[in-house]
């Protein structure tokens, strides 16, 4: 598992994330893939949406890496630097209209790492494997 997806940064193009993820997760076996694909897609999709919306990026690259008990998805873009959350963080019991993207990503990832690089930004999202038994292949 060492696949790369490179898409132009628009809402239409990032719809390729779901199908790409499912093909990338296939080696984990059907159960692991079914269990993880939906939440990974949502998290990666939210990050890609933020990269377009807030980072004004023009191109987004995704890379999948298998570690022992997790899958890392590394999103690299050519957007503006992330300078922390602007606007109020959501409080779960007070519905507000925006600002749920990062909260969703945090809830779905084991860890999330941000790095400003020369050409843009790099986000590393780690997703824990659901159970070790179904790791039928490498």
């Amino acid at each position: 598992m060492n696949d790369i997806l490179r898409v132009t940064a628009d809402f239409e193009a990032i719809r390729a994330v779901g199908p790409w993820l499912r093909s990338v997760l296939e080696p984990l076996g059907p159960e692991q893939c079914a269990a993880m694909a939906g939440s990974i897609e949502l998290a990666v999709h939210e990050m890609a949406t933020n990269s377009i919306d807030h980072g004004k990026s023009t191109s987004i690259e995704l890379k999948a890496q298998r570690t022992n008990d997790a899958v890392d998805i590394i999103l690299t873009d050519d957007g503006l630097p992330f300078e922390g959350r602007q606007g109020p963080a959501p409080h779960p019991d007070e519905p507000q209209v925006r600002g749920y993207g990062l909260m969703i990503v945090e809830a779905l990832t084991e860890s999330i790492d941000y790095e400003r690089i020369a050409t843009g930004n790099r986000w590393t999202m780690r997703f824990a494997l659901e159970s070790n038994e179904s790791n039928s292949s490498t």
Binding site: F11, E12, R15, G18, G38, S39, E41, L42, H45, E46, T49, I52, D53, P90, P92, D93, P95, Q96, V97, R98, Y100, G101, M103, I104, A107, L108
Partner: protein, 112 residues
């Protein structure tokens, strides 16, 4: 009550979505919801049962017009997504507790 009759007598606007509700589809959805609100329709039932993916931009559109509808004395309610990938965004943000959700369009229209 007959569900079609219910939409009449209670003046409930219905919107049925399919496939994805992401940033791309949120724009036309906002157009639809905005139109209903402007026409004074403050009871809106959005059917998500056939939607298989919802992101925070889609959620945001639903929340905005739910607030508008409630401020007009109405509500924006949902027919719950059946697909787990569409329900997830509600669970993670706890909006499954904020929206009134029905199991089917018929239930929404008759039990409103």
């Amino acid at each position: 009550m007959d569900p079609i009759l219910a939409t009449y007598e209670m003046n409930i606007a219905t919107v049925e979505l399919t496939d994805r509700l992401d940033a791309l589809e949120a724009a036309p959805l906002r157009g639809i919801l905005d139109g209903h609100i402007q026409l004074g329709k403050s009871r809106i039932l959005v059917d998500l049962s056939k939607v298989d993916f919802i992101d925070s931009a889609g959620l945001a559109a639903l929340v905005k017009y739910m607030k508008d509808a409630r401020s007009m004395g109405g509500d924006l309610r949902l027919v719950a997504p059946t697909h787990p990938d569409a329900l997830r965004v509600f669970e993670l943000t706890r909006f499954d507790k904020v929206f009134t959700m029905y199991d089917s369009m018929t239930a929404g229209l008759t039990e409103w």
